[in-house]
């Protein structure tokens, strides 16, 4: 029974393999068109902006350290077929809640940072579980659901920290709270944990003229190792199977809902830690706004790195952060230099930044259509 089934399946497979091999460069150019396009833009921007190279390299090192963890936290849900997890905003909120707690308790330095990482876990696991529950009921529409969930969670976050703190939640800290005794101030000073992780290791070792946050890069490296190891474990393989086809995975005995739930929980926890790394580097945080920027920009960076909603690798994430942030550093000055008017720099930058997100999404749509077409031909 099985033998005749296999033979006709393998035959067309061989023929489809042959066609892309013939145009290997074409295929790679197609797959990598987005990063190549952005690398070109960055290159032109660097020349046009005429920045001091020292400033540029310094800024890129800072931004790689600041953002890589957040972008890497998006990979596992992509593998599990959940698309781009806009829900990391929720993780970021848990991270911030933990930071508020350690600031209130007055614990600073690396112990404070590690404690915040620990405190954020129960919050992010609970919220990640809830997010996963919702996303499991919205299969096929995970991205838009996650995006809207982010807004919903933002409302809850405001309710807790603007209204419940000082009323239902007893708290008395004039430095953190509004003068009325209800709600937190709009800015929280993180001087106690500022650069706690960045400066934790080999603080005095410089790479040439540049100060490098070694410990942060070490943590990012560990996350890369974890991600690539995780995809090889049984659970990781199950996620891959679920990501490829939920029904087949279900039939072969994988608990699809549970697997998806775990993917979202991991991503939310990593998102919380990513936000901690981001904020310890910045040094202050906007109580009610800092998390808003997280989802959109991390996702944009991942897309620019060549990822798509169904395929993302560590390399996509790291390359994406590099390209996206290089462009963000050079584009305002490039615009200003080329056109000579300061505010045009800002318009140029937002035009580029948001335009490129749209372009990269469109390019992906175009590529996936091309893939489907070539499959049909095969």
């Amino acid at each position: 029974m099985t033998a005749p089934k296999i033979t006709p399946q393998t035959l067309p497979d061989k023929t489809t393999e042959k066609t892309p091999q013939g145009s290997h460069l074409d295929r790679i150019l197609g797959e990598m068109s987005v990063p190549i396009f952005f690398a070109l833009l960055c290159f032109i921007g660097i020349i046009a902006a005429d920045l001091s190279p020292r400033f540029l390299v310094n800024e890129i090192i800072t931004r790689l350290a600041r953002n890589s963890f957040l972008v890497l936290s998006l990979i596992i849900p992509v593998i599990a077929g959940l698309g781009l997890n806009f829900g990391i905003v929720i993780g970021a909120m848990s991270g911030q809640a933990a930071l508020i707690i350690i600031t209130h308790l007055g614990i600073g330095g690396l112990p404070g940072f590690l404690l915040a990482a620990l405190i954020s876990v129960p919050f992010s696991v609970t919220l990640g579980w809830l997010t996963g529950q919702v996303l499991n009921r919205a299969k096929g529409r995970e991205m838009v659901t996650g995006y809207i969930l982010g807004f919903f969670a933002n409302g809850l976050y405001q309710l807790v920290f603007l209204v419940l703190v000082g009323t239902l939640i007893p708290m008395n800290n004039p430095k953190l709270m509004l003068s009325s005794g209800i709600g937190l101030r709009n800015t929280i000073d993180l001087i106690a944990v500022n650069r706690a992780l960045d400066n934790a290791l080999f603080n005095s070792v410089k790479l040439g003229a540049f100060k490098v946050p070694w410990a942060t890069f070490l943590v990012i490296g560990l996350l890369c190792l974890f991600t690539s190891y995780f995809t090889k474990t049984k659970l990781g393989q199950q996620m891959r199977a679920v990501g490829q086809d939920m029904h087949i995975a279900e039939v072969s005995g994988i608990n699809v809902n549970r697997t998806r739930l775990i993917a979202i929980i991991i991503s939310t926890v990593l998102g919380a830690w990513g936000q901690l790394i981001y904020l310890q580097n910045i040094g202050t945080f906007n109580t009610y706004n800092s998390h808003e920027q997280v989802g959109m920009f991390s996702i944009a960076a991942l897309l620019i790195g060549g990822a798509s909603i169904s395929k993302a690798t560590i390399w996509n994430a790291l390359l994406g952060v590099l390209l996206f942030h290089t462009l963000f550093v050079v584009s305002p000055l490039a615009g200003q230099r080329i056109l000579g008017i300061p505010q045009v720099g800002e318009y140029f930058r937002s035009f580029l930044a948001y335009g490129i997100i749209a372009v990269s999404l469109a390019l992906h749509a175009w590529q996936s259509r091309k893939k489907v077409e070539s499959k049909d031909k095969g």
Partner: protein, 377 residues
Amino acid sequence: MSKKILILVLVVVVVGALALYLTRTSAPEATTDATNFKIGLVTGTVSQNEDEYRGAEAAIAKYPGLIKHVTYPDNFMQEQETFIAQVTGLAADPEVKAIIINQAVPGTVAAVRRVRETRPDMIFIVGEPHEDPPLVEPAVDVSFMPDQWARGKTIPQLAKEMGATALLHYSFPRHMSMAQLAERRDIMKAECEELGITFVDVNAPDPMGEGGLPAAQQFILEDVPRQVAKYGKNIALFSTNCGMQEPLIAAAMQTGAIFPEQCCPSPTHGYPGALALEITDEIKGNFPAILKAIDQKVKESGGAGRFATWPVATGYLHSIGGVEVAKLALEGKLDLNDIEAVAKVMGEAADTAMELTRLSDNGNFYMYTCDSYIFGK
């Protein structure tokens, strides 16, 4: 295979940047002369706040070659990283010895701290800080902000001077949950009682509510005639919301009521729209000329002595006055701790008398009020 391409792309970018680095002539790092300095100026774009941008343009016209002007993101709440990079980018130029941030949007404290890591001597002057004042105060050298508490007294006083027997305060719960605005209303109420003026507190629709700004504006246009019929023509109108200023001025003009000051006092706020005044290229950014044009219009419409405002926009003043203060401080001619001297410099920039008070003794957080300009007088 795709990995190799990725690495190739990376290499291209890095090599490109390195090539640029090597082919460039070495940056002029050694020009740290006391007389040879530049001033960095960060403002919003015209779509975010026109006044501060025009102020920067005026300062650049006055001191060509002295100022490096960049803008903060329009979407500054979401793009803090970009804003911080703009400020650190200015500081990367060793000739820049002072930076003015107007408005000091969220992220200012972080940006200032980052710059101070490598440039501890950098002078920071900020206008209209958005972050918590006690946090901003010790981080920067000088902050400027209109004194909302003092305005709680000056507005009723001005209204009385203009002949008001009642003062109407339009607001809504969202604004009244902001500590500063709520406290200012309470001060106003007390001051009105002292001056023997009736204080009328009216709740208007929130422009962020379901009807949006049109509903709020419609309400103002309908409510002012009602209130004038009730309290007489000598009622002074005030609203806490920017979007309500234009209909408020228009309604005051129609009914003959008094309009002492906008929420954010400036000749360009509400008046041009309400009076159908065209801001031509000749008077754009030129406040004395704009004042003159409004004066003319107010007189023509028969509202002389019934309308007033501050003679200069706060955003404009922070840009141009900030540059003056920074320049004098860098030349060693001004002590930033000397409140009287700073008030004098700012007053000259504003072309009117200014009164400064400190937020606390923790730093130089200066809050000010200006002398008002009454149109048609």
